[in-house]
Every structure is written in structure tokens, then in C-alpha cells.
């Protein structure tokens, strides 16, 4: 079953490229390991939450506003999608994902993807 690992991280604007280099290296190593074990499906880092834009459709009109809720301490900073046997395997992988993607400390939220039967309509 595929699990999405959402990386939530405290954004630290003061973090320098040098600070982030070991984090990126750790991600690269982990992705390689996941590829070799055949569980890797996808992974991407996100730009900072300051680059985000919200679209909300109300009565047919798209309302565009800036950013998500800045009060939340930890922001979505990236994700992995890994194909694991069960939750325990997913949790083992999640524990290896660096959470300092946005400079500060963070955590991983593990969510199973909703699987649909092959060929069935996605919103069926």
C-alpha cells in the first residue's frame, strides 16, 4: 500500500545553503535506499510557505488569497510517497526522513493513500 509521508518543518529564514546541504544529502541517500528496496514512488521538497497561494471557489468565483495560515508553527515542506507492506514498515521509513527541510525542527505525518481498484472511476 502506498503511504504519503508529509514533512512538516519549522521554517527558519536564517538557515544558509551550507546549513541545508547535509539535509539535502540525507534526503538523497534515503531516496536512493528506498529506490533500491523497490518502495520509492515519489518525493519532492516544496518552496517555503511564503510562496504559497490559496484559491477558494465561492459561488462559482475563484477567490485568490496569499499564503496558508502563518500562525501554524510547522509548515508543509515536502513529501514522500513510498509503497510499503503495512503501517509498521511505513513508520520505519518515516523515522528516517530528515525533518529539517525548512531549516528548523519538524515531524512526519504518515497517511495511507486511498487506493482505488484498477479501472474504476476515481470519484466513484
Amino acid at each position: 500500500m502506498r503511504y504519503m509521508m508529509l514533512i512538516y518543518s519549522q521554517e527558519n529564514e536564517a538557515a544558509t545553503p551550507e546549513d541545508m546541504r547535509p539535509v539535502a544529502a540525507a534526503h538523497a541517500a534515503l531516496m536512493e535506499e528506498a529506490r533500491q528496496r523497490g518502495v520509492f514512488r515519489a518525493a519532492d521538497p516544496l518552496q517555503s510557505s511564503a510562496t504559497a497561494t490559496i484559491v477558494r471557489v465561492h459561488n462559482g468565483t475563484a477567490m485568490v488569497t496569499d499564503g496558508p495560515f502563518a500562525e501554524t508553527k510547522e509548515q508543509l515542506a515536502g513529501y514522500y510517497i513510498l509503497d510499503c507492506e503495512d503501517l509498521d514498515e511505513a513508520l520505519e521509513w518515516a523515522a528516517k526522513i530528515p525533518t529539517a527541510c525548512a531549516g528548523g525542527v519538524g515531524c512526519i505525518e504518515v497517511r495511507p493513500l486511498r487506493e482505488y481498484p484498477r479501472g474504476a472511476p476515481v470519484n466513484g
Binding site: E85, L87, D88, P112, P117, G119, A120
Partner: protein, 418 residues
């Protein structure tokens, strides 16, 4: 007569039966349905033909046949529908071969599923009691003073999460086993304490909860017999439970340990508890349940309150403090020190320890802090200060039994108050 036989089989065997059915069906819901159908069939069949030689095997075989029936019915229904959908869903249905395979004891895997850290603790408790303990939803709701619908909802959500997030049905890997086992032990101990803590509620239901926790702890030890903390957990429950008839009056008032009639203590439980503690300590791998059980054993061994080996209790609390410096442990340590060194020095030292604990102000809102302080002051004859502390504790206590205990102490010290 037969109904009683069925009830007895349900109580003692339903956990084992459920565990096996969940393994083959990969579904809590199907397993439960099959087991209920099998017990319903038993009511009719046993009445007519008498109770079979091995009732649990009868129920298991019948429930497995029910599972096969469900699978066949689902298959027929699906053969007319989208074949792809069936291929996808068939993953969750076991084959007939799987269902007729050997019937191993799957309870250990099931305990770890029910107590998985991805479930919140309330759900872990409810699921463990419902699935392994064979308590009905009504019984669990009554024991926890919850509306039945709330508890039923809790169970539905937990099972849905197990299914949807695919929480595995297996013994954890060696790397995570210690942590996962301690979460199982915590759930069983919480169940016991819920029954044992003398708060409100139906006392019969609460007693049943203690008995169930003991049964589950016994099962855990049977399944992982070399683990000293499993031995100690069972011992701790037995030693506490042995005092059940002495620890409250018939009006439900709390009787403190030193005033209990030790003749009412259940010696068979004490003997078994002490033997388990000794076996656990012999493994030389100390843990928090062993320390707590050892403390309970020291109390159990004293023929009278005056003969209690407080020095040993103080030493055990001091070790416990290193890994768990919770307010309760700190207070108990201080009390043990106070009691171990005689009225002249001990009480002073105990009081000093308690006052040091309280100096940060963190414990000001904690009723047991004031109660423990008051008890020491009372023993020292400092009546006025003791009264003040009892009153502060009383203002904070919420448990009706504790409130009555504190009121009694106050009226003993100050008869005009009542």
C-alpha cells in the same frame, strides 16, 4: 445450565477465537460477525445436543464455516459485477485453504495490533477489552461510565483505522518490541487501575474489570513467558487485588493500608504475586513494574502495619525515582523515608523531602501532595498545620472516596468541624 456454559466459554475463549478469526479473515468486523453467529448457533445446538467435549473448538470450527459462507456469498454476488473490483477486494478475503489450516494462538499478534501506538490510548483500551477480553460494548461502556454510543463509535473508528492505514497484525520487529511491549503493559495496567481506583461507578463492574486485567496479564505472560516485566505486571495486579476486601468499608469508605484488616487479604493471590516477583527479580533485568510489584510485595509480607519494612520500600522507591520522577513516586518515596527512620528523625526528613518537592509550587494543585503532607504533620502531632493541609487537599480532591477519607481525618483532628 447451557447458557452458563456458553457464557463461560465466551469469557475464557473469545479472545483466542477472535484472534484466529481475524488472522484468517483480515477483518475485525468479519471475525466478530462470524464469532457472534457461532455463539448464536451454539445456544441452539448445545441446548439440543448438550455441551460438546471441547466447546472452544466447536465455536472455532463453526465460526470458520461462517467465514467461508460469507466469502462464497460475496463471491457469487461479485461474479456479476466488475471483475476488477473483485480482484482488488479479494485481497481481504482468505481462501478456504487458509481457513482450514492449523489453528495457532494468534492472541499475541492481536494484542500488539490493539495496542498499536497509531491508535489513541482510549481506543487501545476499548479495543483490547472488546477483542481480547470478550467484554461486550455495554459492559465496557458501563465500566468507563461512558454512553454506549460513544464507546461503539470509538471501536468503529479504531477498527477502521486498522483496516485503512493497514496497521499490521504481527509481533513487532525486535527493534521496536521493547517500546511496543511497554505500551501493551501500560494498557493492561490502565484497565486494572480503572477497576481498582475507588472512584464512582458500579462496584461489581469495576471488580470485573480488575479480573479481566488480571486475565489479560496472565495471557501476556503465558505468550511471552521469559519477560520479567510481564511477570511483574501480573504480580503487581495480584498483590493489589488481594487487598480488595480490606481496602474499603461496606459504605465504600477508603481504608488506608495501615488500618486494613490483613486477615481479609487474599493469601492465594499474595503467594502467587510474591513468587512471580521473586522470579522476575531473578532475571536481573530491572524495570518499573518489578519495582512497583516488589514494593507491593513488601507490604504484603508484613503481618501488621507496624512490621512493614519501610527501609526496603524507601530504597525501592529511590530506584524507581531514577527512571520515573513523577509526583506520586516522589511523594511515596518521601513517605517511605518518613516511616523508615522512626518518629523522631524520619518524620522530619520526610516532611523536608515533601516540602522540597512542593517548593517549586508545581504540586500546589495536586490534592495528594497536601494529603501526604497532612498525614506526616498529623503523625508529628502538629495538629493545626495538619488540618490546614487536609483542608487544602480536600478543596482539590474530586474522587468521592478520597473526599470522604480527607473529611474523616479532619473530623478526627477537629471534632467540632463535623
Amino acid at each position: 445450565m447451557d447458557d452458563a456454559a456458553i457464557e463461560a466459554v465466551f469469557r475464557s475463549e473469545s479472545g483466542r477465537i477472535m484472534a484466529g478469526l481475524i488472522r484468517v479473515s483480515h477483518s475485525f468486523d468479519l471475525a466478530e460477525e462470524a464469532m457472534q453467529d457461532a455463539f448464536a448457533a451454539a445456544v441452539i445446538s448445545w441446548r439440543a445436543e448438550g455441551v460438546p467435549l471441547n466447546p472452544a473448538a466447536w465455536i472455532t470450527a463453526t465460526a470458520r464455516r461462517k467465514l467461508i459462507d460469507y466469502a462464497r456469498r460475496a463471491q457469487t454476488r461479485r461474479s456479476n459485477e466488475d471483475q476488477l473490483l473483485y480482484e482488488y477486494e479479494s485481497r481481504s478475503c482468505a481462501t478456504e485453504a487458509e481457513m482450514s489450516g492449523p489453528f495457532a494462538d494468534d492472541r499475541l499478534s492481536l494484542i500488539f495490533t490493539c495496542c498499536h501506538p497509531a491508535l489513541n490510548q482510549e481506543a487501545q483500551i476499548a479495543l483490547t477489552l472488546r477483542t481480547l477480553g470478550g467484554l461486550t460494548t455495554t459492559e465496557i461502556a458501563r465500566a468507563f461510565l461512558l454512553p454506549e454510543t460513544t464507546l461503539a463509535q470509538r471501536l468503529v473508528r479504531a477498527r477502521r483505522k486498522i483496516q485503512q492505514a493497514r496497521i499490521p497484525y504481527q509481533i513487532p520487529s525486535p527493534g521496536s518490541l521493547p517500546e511496543r511491549l511497554s505500551s501493551v503493559q501500560a494498557v493492561l495496567y490502565l484497565i486494572f487501575n480503572e477497576g481498582y481506583s475507588a472512584s464512582s461507578g458500579d462496584s461489581l463492574v469495576r471488580r470485573e474489570l480488575c479480573a479481566e486485567a488480571i486475565r489479560l496479564a496472565r495471557t501476556l505472560l503465558e505468550l511471552m513467558p521469559a519477560n520479567p516485566e510481564n511477570m511483574a505486571l501480573l504480580a503487581l495486579m495480584l498483590l493489589h487485588d488481594s487487598r480488595r476486601d480490606a481496602r474499603s468499608t461496606c459504605d465504600g469508605d477508603l481504608v488506608p493500608l495501615e488500618e486494613q484488616d490483613r486477615g481479609l487479604w487474599h493469601q492465594d493471590q499474595i503467594v502467587e504475586g510474591i513468587r512471580l516477583v521473586e522470579r522476575a527479580l531473578g532475571r536481573r533485568n530491572l524495570g518499573p513494574y518489578q519495582l512497583q510489584a516488589a514494593i507491593a510485595a513488601v507490604h504484603a509480607e508484613a503481618r501488621s502495619a507496624g512490621e512493614t519494612d519501610w527501609k526496603q520500600i524507601g530504597a525501592l522507591y529511590a530506584i524507581l525515582l531514577r527512571s520515573n520522577a513523577s509526583p506520586v513516586v516522589c511523594l511515596n518515596h518521601a513517605v517511605a523515608v518518613a516511616m523508615s527512620e522512626g518518629p523522631e528523625w524520619g518524620l522530619e526528613r520526610g516532611l523536608a523531602l515533601i516540602d522540597r518537592l512542593g517548593s517549586s509550587g508545581e504540586l500546589d494543585a495536586y490534592h495528594l501532595y497536601h494529603a501526604a503532607r497532612a498525614d506526616l504533620l498529623r503523625r508529628m502531632g502538629r495538629k493545626q498545620e495538619a488540618l490546614e493541609s487536609y483542608h487544602r487537599g480536600l478543596a482539590l480532591a474530586t474522587n468521592s472516596v478520597e473526599v470522604r477519607y480527607l473529611r474523616r481525618r479532619i473530623s478526627e483532628l477537629d471534632p467540632s468541624a463535623s
